[in-house]
Structure formats: C-alpha cells, structure tokens
Amino acid sequence: MNSDELQLKRASKAALFSLLNLTVLPVIGFIILLLIYQKSSSDSIDHYYSVIGIKTNVFAGIALLLVSGLMILLGGFDSPWTWVYVVSYFTFVHALFILFATWVLVRSWTGEKLKKNILSK
C-alpha cells in the first residue's frame, strides 16, 4: 500500500469515528479521532478529515450537551416545559449532526474534500 492509499484509509477512519462518537461510541470515538489527528501530517487528506471530525464533535458537544444543560438549568428540572424543549431539541439537532457526519463519511470514501452542492457537480 502506498502512502496515498494509507492516508485515504485514515481519512475515512477519521470520518467514521467522528460518526461513531456522535452515536454508539461517545468519548471513545473522540479519543481515536484525536489519535488519528496526531499521526497525520498537515495538508494531508487524513489531517483534513480528522480536523472536520474534531470540529463537528466539539461543536455538537456544545450544541447538544451545553445547550441542553442550560435549558435544564434555566427551565428547572421539575418543569414539564423543560422536557418538551430539551427532548425535542436534543433529538432533532442530534439527528442533524448525525446526518452531516454521514455525508462527510461518504465524501471521505471518495477521497475528495467536502465542498460543493450535492445536486450539481
């Protein structure tokens, strides 16, 4: 395997663990993502995808955990309205992050960068 292929493989691995961190392997997925990032040299495609993964997950962490946490704090644990907002918000926004990470994964498989609209190539 030449180094290009190796990089591509690591790139899709990064995209995969970004998705896994958002779903069934929280925290563990992120640690692996950091390791891939460490091993990558800047300017390479695996670097590119591990950075996207890290950014996505940090952003998701803030948008989901922090914002939900704030909602609970401000709304009060015993108020039904708190849960109306938290559950709907968390479920929907979480799903959006998963969909985004899925698209990133698919892009990483072809070794291209993100860019461009899906409907017009």
Partner: protein, 461 residues
C-alpha cells in the same frame, strides 16, 4: 421513452394514488380541527370515522403506489413486457371500485350498520385499528394482491432475474402473506393484539422495507448510473439488517399487553437495532449520489430519493428509537409521541418512496426524459413544503406528547386525560397550521404535473 409499452399501466395506478392521497390529507386536516374544536362536523362525521378514512386511504394509496411502482419497474428489470397487462388494468378497476365503496360505506352509514350490511358476523374482522375494512373488502384485497403477484411473478420468472426485482417480489409476497393475519380475530384480547402486530409491525418494519429498499435502489441506479454490482451488495445488506432486527423487534409492541416479561428485553434490544437498516439506506443513497456517473436531467427525482433516505431515517430510525426502549415506552405508550413517530415514519419512508418512483417514472410515461424546468421547480417546492411541514407536525406532536406524558403519567398527581388534552391544545393548533401548509404543498405537487415550461437540456444520451 419507456423501454416497454406495458410499463404504462403504472400511470393509472399513480393517478389513483395521488387522488386518494389528497383525500387522506383532507381528512387529516378535518381531524386536526376536531382535536381542538371537538364539535366540528359532529355528529355527521365523528372522529373515529374521519380517522378510519384517513388511515385506510393512506394504506390503500400506498398499495396503489407499490403496485404502480412494481408494474413500472418489473418489465424494465426483467427486460420483457408485463406478463398480462390486461390483468393489471382489470385489477386496477376492481381495486379502485372496492376501495371507493368501502370509503363511501364509512362515510354514509353508521359503522355498525356497515358491519351488518357486509355480514361481518360470518367472519368478524372489522373494528380493529387499520383493519377496519369489511371482511368482504379484505377478501377483495387478497384477490387483487394474488392477481398482482401472479402477474409480476410470471414476468420475472420468464424474464431476467435481478436482485432488485427478486427482492421486490419477496417484499410483495410478504405483504400479502402477513395480511392474512387480519382474518384472525380471536375473542381473547391478548391473542388478538399479539397477532394484529403481525400485520402492522411486520409490514412497516419488515417486508415493506424490502419493497422500499428495492424501489430506492432502482431509482438510484437509473439517476446515478452507478454500477449495479455495488448497489446490489448494499441492497442485500440493508434488507438483511431490516429482517434481523425487525422480526424479533416486533417485541417492542409486546411490553404492556399481557404478554410474557421476556419481551421487555427482547423487544428493547432488537428494536434498538431497527434504526440500522434505515441509517444504511441514508448512507447508501448519499454514497451512490456522491459517486454518480452522470447528472440526470430529472433533478426532482434525485431530490425525492435523497429525501426519502433522510426522512425515513429521521421518522423511523430516530423517532422510533426515541420511544422503543421498554422503560421509556412505559410512559409514552399510546400517547401523542406515538402519533408523532407514526406520521414522520410513514411519510418519510413509504409516502416519499412512492413519490420518488412517481417522480422518476411519470415523465417517462409521458414521453419525456424529465419534467420541464418549471414543473421541476414546482415539484421541488412541493417537496420542501410537504417535508418541512411534516417535520413541524412531528415536532409539535412530540411536544404535545411529552407534556401529556408528564402531566398524565409522570407527575406526582396525575391529571385526567381530557384535562391534559385541553392543556396541550396550543400544540394541536400549531399542528393544524402545519397540516394546512402540507396541504398547500400537496396542491402544488399536483399542479406541477400540468405546468408548462422550457424543456430541460440533456447533458448526454
């Protein structure tokens, strides 16, 4: 533009499907209003009547949609004309007349009288959710289904066999087989409920997924030009996961109906895996669109295909998972949370896959490769209006459901059902507004078929 002339019978089926879809939505809007203005149309059209019209129209038009899709797809995949086009036309009219009579029966006579008129006592099957049809209508459905399966089965068996048409056939045979459980209606309520799910669950979370995946695969091959080998591998693994998770996953309906406790575990674990096939459909659709070999002029069809994958994942996968674990379902069972999920899942998976097939095939049956510019723009607008309003319907019902769960089931001092309903009325009003937007989207959708405009320019072939 069609490869085989007999594919054209699909057009009849699709027109009927869209017509009945419109009826479904009109009654949906009526019910949405009855939710907040209880006496609306009472006693002429009581809620339960509106509801059976709404849900039965849904099922019937989806069946029209599946049949039309199969009639379009199978000749092309099998590389031969339909075995008996006349039979397809005959069955169309029989099904349409039987369906229309049944709906009129719901609306024009009291349900108990309809039961008498159709001699329900000989073989009582009526009066169960989604299976409200008179026994004689059910028998009619079986006959139509058999003739249909015979027709496409013979086409496939005497033609080219592809993974796509065989998976589709398996799904359709499964649909017919599991419908037979609708004739079993024991006095024992626990048994009744247990086997009722063999129709409902094993349809939407079993064999219908086979139908959906094969239709999606077909359209994706056509619009992306991606290699069949790749697509078939995906198809197999998706339907494998659907059945591996979905069969025992039926257990998520056996938590609170007097069935053994082991279902709490089995149902929770296996149904927690059910999002996987829906997620894989998203991955699959994203992947082949990303790897497309050509840009098909029918952009609307590509949009519908991607939309199906995404919305089925949201409605079935995400909103299904939300309430599928027994400890959660203990509180949410039979609340507006269920209704939220039911709407987005049915829309995202089955409504949208049928509309995808229609979007791809209708222009071909009308002698064009794709609709004209204006028609496509309108169709894409209708896509967004219907899809976004369905997201809002789901969110509002989820909000209503959470509040309902809290006030009626979770709180220290639970309130009566009707009291709670008044407290969440705001959500029902918002749902109704979103429902009206959905209706506007649907009207626009129908209008798009008649829009005139510039032909699209083809990049290749």
């Amino acid at each position: 533009m069609m490869k085989y002339e007999s594919q054209g019978v699909a057009k009849l089926y699709f027109i009927a499907a869209i017509g009945l879809f419109t009826g479904q939505i009109l009654f949906g809007v009526v019910m949405g209003l009855q939710y907040v203005m209880g006496d609306f149309l009472f006693p002429e059209i009581p809620f339960n009547v509106a509801r059976m019209v709404h849900t039965n129209l849904l099922i019937v038009w989806l069946l029209f949609g599946f049949m039309g899709s199969a009639y379009f797809l199978v000749p092309e995949e099998s590389e031969r004309e339909l075995y008996a086009p006349w039979l397809a036309k005959l069955m169309f009219w029989i099904f349409l007349v039987a369906g229309a009579l049944t709906i009129l029966g719901y609306l024009l006579v009291p349900y108990a009288q309809l039961a008498d008129l159709t001699m329900n006592d000989l073989l009582p099957t009526m009066g169960r959710e989604f299976l409200e049809q008179p026994t004689i209508t059910k028998i009619g459905i079986v006959i139509v289904a058999l003739a249909f399966i015979f027709n496409i089965g013979m086409t496939i068996l005497t033609g080219r066999k592809t993974v796509i048409n065989l998976v589709l056939l398996t799904g359709l045979v499964g649909l017919a087989v599991f419908f037979l459980f609708s004739f079993y209606n024991p006095d024992n309520i626990v048994l009744d409920k247990y086997f009722w799910w063999f129709v409902v669950h094993l349809w939407v979370e079993g064999v219908w997924e086979l139908i959906m995946a094969s239709l999606l695969a077909f359209v994706l091959i056509k619009v992306t030009g991606v290699d069949r080998e790749v697509i078939e591998k995906w198809l197999y693994i998706i339907i494998a996961m659907a059945l591996i998770s979905g069969l025992v996953g039926t257990g998520h309906h056996f938590f609170w109906i007097g069935t053994p406790d082991y279902w709490q575990w089995l149902g929770s674990i296996f149904s927690a895996l059910e999002p996987i096939p829906f997620f894989m459909m998203t991955l699959f659709a994203f992947n082949v669109v990303n790897k497309r070999r050509r840009d098909h002029p029918n952009k609307a069809a590509v949009l519908w295909a991607l939309g199906t994958a995404v919305m089925a994942f949201l409605g079935a996968g995400v909103w299904g998972f939300l309430h599928t674990l027994a400890p959660v379902n203990y509180y949410t069972h039979g609340t507006q949370v269920t209704a939220a999920h039911g709407h987005m899942a049915f829309y995202g998976a089955y409504v949208m896959v049928v509309l995808t097939m229609i979007s791809y095939s209708m222009p071909l049956m009308r002698g064009q490769k794709a609709g004209n510019q204006k028609a496509q723009v309108l169709e894409m607008w209708s896509f967004w209006l219907m899809t976004v309003s369905m997201v809002f319907i789901t969110l509002f019902l989820t909000g209503a459901g959470i509040l309902q769960v809290y006030l009626q089931r979770f709180s220290e001092d639970p309130l009566p059902f009707m009291v709670v309903q008044e407290k969440v009325a705001l959500f029902y009003w918002m749902r109704e507004v979103a429902g009206l937007v959905f209706l506007i989207g649907l009207i626009l959708y129908i209008y798009s078929f008649f829009a005139k405009g510039d032909e699209v320019v083809f990049a290749e072939d």
